[in-house]
Each structure stands twice: as C-alpha cells, then as structure tokens.
Symmetry: C2
Subunit: 345 residues, 2 copies
Amino acid sequence: MSDPPRSPDGRRGELDLIRRIRERAGSADLAAGIAISIGDDAAALVPPPGEQLLVTTDVLVEGRHFILAGNSVRAGNSALAGNPHDDGSPQTCASGFDVGWKTLAVSISDIAAMGGRAAWAVLGVALPDGREDAFADALLDGVLACAAEFGVRLVGGDLSGSPGAVFTHATVFGSARSEHVVARTGARPGDALCVTGSLGGSGARRHLRPIPRQVEALTLVQGGVPHAMIDLSDGLSTDLLHLLDASGVGARIDADRIPRHPDAAAAARADGTSALRHALDDGEDFELLFAVSPERATALEADGLAGTPVTRIGSVTTERGAWLVDSDDHASALERGGHEHFRGA
Amino acid sequence: MSDPPRSPDGRRGELDLIRRIRERAGSADLAAGIAISIGDDAAALVPPPGEQLLVTTDVLVEGRHFILAGNSVRAGNSALAGNPHDDGSPQTCASGFDVGWKTLAVSISDIAAMGGRAAWAVLGVALPDGREDAFADALLDGVLACAAEFGVRLVGGDLSGSPGAVFTHATVFGSARSEHVVARTGARPGDALCVTGSLGGSGARRHLRPIPRQVEALTLVQGGVPHAMIDLSDGLSTDLLHLLDASGVGARIDADRIPRHPDAAAAARADGTSALRHALDDGEDFELLFAVSPERATALEADGLAGTPVTRIGSVTTERGAWLVDSDDHASALERGGHEHFRGA
C-alpha cells in the first residue's frame, strides 16, 4: 500500500530508515525458513512440515503503553496514569530501544504461552515528523535485539508517518507440533495452578523490557504438555479468569503463595495499597500461568524451569469462579482487576 | 499484552467491541485451516502442506491514508493534501466501513501479487474515545465484508485506545505452491510488461475500496507463472522501477498504451496536469504489473484475466532505467513519482 510523501526531510528520513531496516534485517535464508524476505510484496516462508502455525499481533500506542521523554503525548486516562512512577522522569519514560523491544517481546510471549517457538515477525511503525532518525534507529535496535535474543527473524513490515503519537505493531508467528500446542481450555478440577517468576509493579520500569518466557515454556512442554497455559499480560486476576472461563472451571488461590516482585512492594509503599493487590492486578508481568497435575507442580517447584522459579499458587475446582484464600482460610471472590484486550477477552 | 483502561464509557465500548468481533469472526474451523481462532494467546493454523507461507502487513493512519468526516485529523502534508478532491466533503471522507475494507484489501493485494491465495488475517485497531461504537462496528463490517469477498478468515487481533488519530493494521497470511510464488526479481530482457485494469485518479474515491486482483493473479499463475509481478500501490512509475531494479533490467514504456482510468482524466482537469501523469504517479490503483513473454502478452490482451482487461504497456530491456516513449518516439527518463514504503523500497 502507499505511504504518502511527507515533508522533504521526513521523507528522506523515511527512505533512509527503510534502507537501514533492509540492511539490518537480513535477506532470504532457507535455513531459517525464509525463501523471500523484506523487499517484495510479501515474505515467502517455509513453515516446519507437520507443525501448526501460531500467529499473534499486538499494538503499542504512545501515551497508552509507553510514554516518551520530552513528548506532549502523556499517559492521559490510561493505566500508566495510575502508576505512581509515571512522573515523566527519564527513568519511567521509554526509549526508542524500549519501544522496539517491547513491541516484539509482548507477541513472543503470546507464542510462548501457546507452547510454540517464535520464528518470524513483521513490524508496523507510524512515526511523527522528527522521529525518523535517532529514535527510529533506536527502535530498530530494540526490535532486532529482541529478535536476536529469541531467535526471531524480521521478514517484513510497513512504515508510515503519524499525525502525532508513535504507534507500533508486531505480528509474530511461530510454530509447534500440534500435540504441543497449549490452549487456555484444558484446565481440569484437581490441577495445580502455577506461575513462573514473580508478579506486580512492572509499571515502574520492567514493563518496558519484558522477557518472554519462551525458554521456560518450551522446557515445560518438552517435559509434558500442561493442560492449559496463558501469559500474564493483563494481570493475574484477569488472566486467571480468562483461563478458568475458557476451561469451564474455577479455582482457589492461596494469597500467601502468590510470588510478589520487589517492585510490587515498592508500588504498594508508593500508593498505600498492598503488594498482594499489585501482584494480582498489575499487568505486563509476562510470566506464565499454567495448569498441571499436583505431582508435576511439586517437581516444578523443586526444579524450576530453565533457572526460573515456579510457584504453585492454587488449585482448579469444579465450582466456577475464583476464590482468594488468606492465611485465616477466609475466601473472597477474585475479580478482574486488570485489563482486557481483543484476543484475550 | 495489556490494554490499559480508558474512561468508563470508552472501556465498556471496547469490551463490547471485543465481544462483537469474537462473535462475528467465527471460531475454530479445521476446513479453513483454523485449529484455534480468536480467544487464546495466539491463533493456531494449519498451512496447506508443501506450500510456502506468504505474509504481508500494512498500516493505515488517519490523516495520511484516509480522512474521516467531522474529524480534526486532516490530510496535512500527505499525498491526500495534494488531492483536488480532498475537500472534506462526505464523498471524499472515509467511512468506518471504508477504513476496515481498505485495511484488509491492501494486504490481500500484496498476497495476490506474489501469486498466492490469502487465507487468514490478524487485525490491529487503535481508536480514540468516541469511536468505539458505530464507527468501530462499521469498521468491523468493512473488514469482514472484504474478508468474505476474498476468502480470508479473521483469526486474531489487538485493540487499543488512541490519543488522537485512528490507526489500523492488518497482517494477512496466505500460501502458494513454491513453484507458483512470483517475486519481483525475474523480469527478463524481451519480456512484455502488462497491467490489469486502468490507472490513475484513485485518490478521489476509489482508493477507499480497493479491489485486490486476487482472482486475476491466480488465473494468471494457473496459466503459466509470470517472470515477475508487483501490485501497483505506490504508482506505476515507482512500482515499475521497483520491479526493474529487483530484476536488474530496464524498460521502454509506450506512453500511449498506459490505460488511464476515467478518474485520471477528472483529476487532470481539476489540477491542470495530464491524465498520463496521474496514471503514472498516483498510488493506490492496486492493479497488477507483470512481466511475461510477448506471446503470452498478446494472448492476455485478447482474453483478459477473469474478465479484467490486460494491457501491454512496454518491454523489458537489458539497459537499466525506464524510458517513457511518446507517439513521436521521443523517450524521456521515467522517474519515481509515487510513494515509498518499507517492503517495497
């Protein structure tokens, strides 16, 4: 499709950027399944025979998923506005590198949560005038660094001007043997519910450089396919309910066992709530939540996954709904505290 | 990934929209190669065995690729600003349906230009407050109408708020037998250069409802794979040079043979240039330009492709560069007059 011309300077910057992307993204490479890469109407790829293709897309919008230093697009009425750290300081503002990294990482996390290995990505970027040069290069650095880290090849994209905010999207696709694909729908009563890593407070800084749990997910699947899995993008309370609803089951969650990230405690100190609340409701942890047999959970708690701790936080029940059980054995209904999006709802 | 909450009304509109998308896009359907559709972390698809996977993505930005009635985001310094019809009248403003249709159609056109059949799409949409309801439904209508028309299934997406402009993207996946995949790189000296349909003036209105030449491309490939092909998204002059550069050849184009759309003449009357200039340089015709043997070109001119006329406009030469030859046999160098984008440059 067309990309209408902009101011002469913006236009030149855009053409230079296209050239730099092509040079850095690499060309056809049959060993990586790439018959035709950037530079034609579409990429032509060779998926692994007999595997299912896993596809996901995410959109990032300035002022909603990140804020940029020195820019007029502020958090407004987004979740970031509720972040006590959203003070516009350099520490909490995203760099171009952060935006690029995050654009790709959030979708790689989705592929991982399906039990797949991310392989390829296409990228879309809309940049306002003045962001074509240093910012765009940093963004590309972030995309390519994340791609290299997780074995993903950039095979296409589209670039546009923007009347204001920076918008990015990545569509990431990978594959898995069909018997290794993990949906949200298979959790069974009696299953243990486990999470990787620790939760909460990612809005302070961590959300800008998410680390998709791809190695952990692949290790998990190799050792036996979990009954259901989801990545924690919208917050544990929300994503747990997604998984339970999809599986037609409920759960009891042991509040004391929810692993709280140090950032959750910091966020609680800053806003006067609790670290538990942050661990439950903050989005963008990008940890894995999955359902396995109790025996498997015990082994995973002992061994971890590829060096990442695993914590059993509760059990799947026949009765629908999710209950948060405290140390006095009081149960309260767990409600969605996080965010919604198109795929997950 | 997370989609931070917005104003309560916007938020409710967003959740309703997610539900409506899921209901209308359909669910898993193995006959359509869809093992898991919208509603999990990623879609799981079953590509046709032995075929290459074709992937392309496009970004549409309000004020750059379309303007909306009653909105403050105007064409600014985009190509639309040079459109004599860009008077903000209802006739030239995009409807939500137009935006949805165009978002998908421009990528289907790219798959067609590779000789492939588009099969699946994921969609990204960022909408400012107030556009979640009627506008969003109309956009979804447009996406699904285009998808149905061209046999594409919507299998995922992401929805976000936007601080101002409407942004959309689609990533479209299709496939083709590897021997049917047509790159830009195979044009040979002596080949005839042909276009489908007629060119120019699409900015007045036609660019909002592009008709990808998928049936024509598949018909062409079935009758013998062209040596090179590209879709005319950026304008004939620009896209011709893309194809020639990729193939390492040049061309002589017969100015009188370039098929001019009636809209090109109307645009010329309005801005005092020529219909030829509009046919050469206006983007978004979404016709096909391809290189075949002279004998094949003669047959295609006689028969057309699936009811669409084919016109031989020139010949491929060993000497690099493109020359436009007029009726007095004067040749002038043809230069890029259209637009650039990430994949095509």
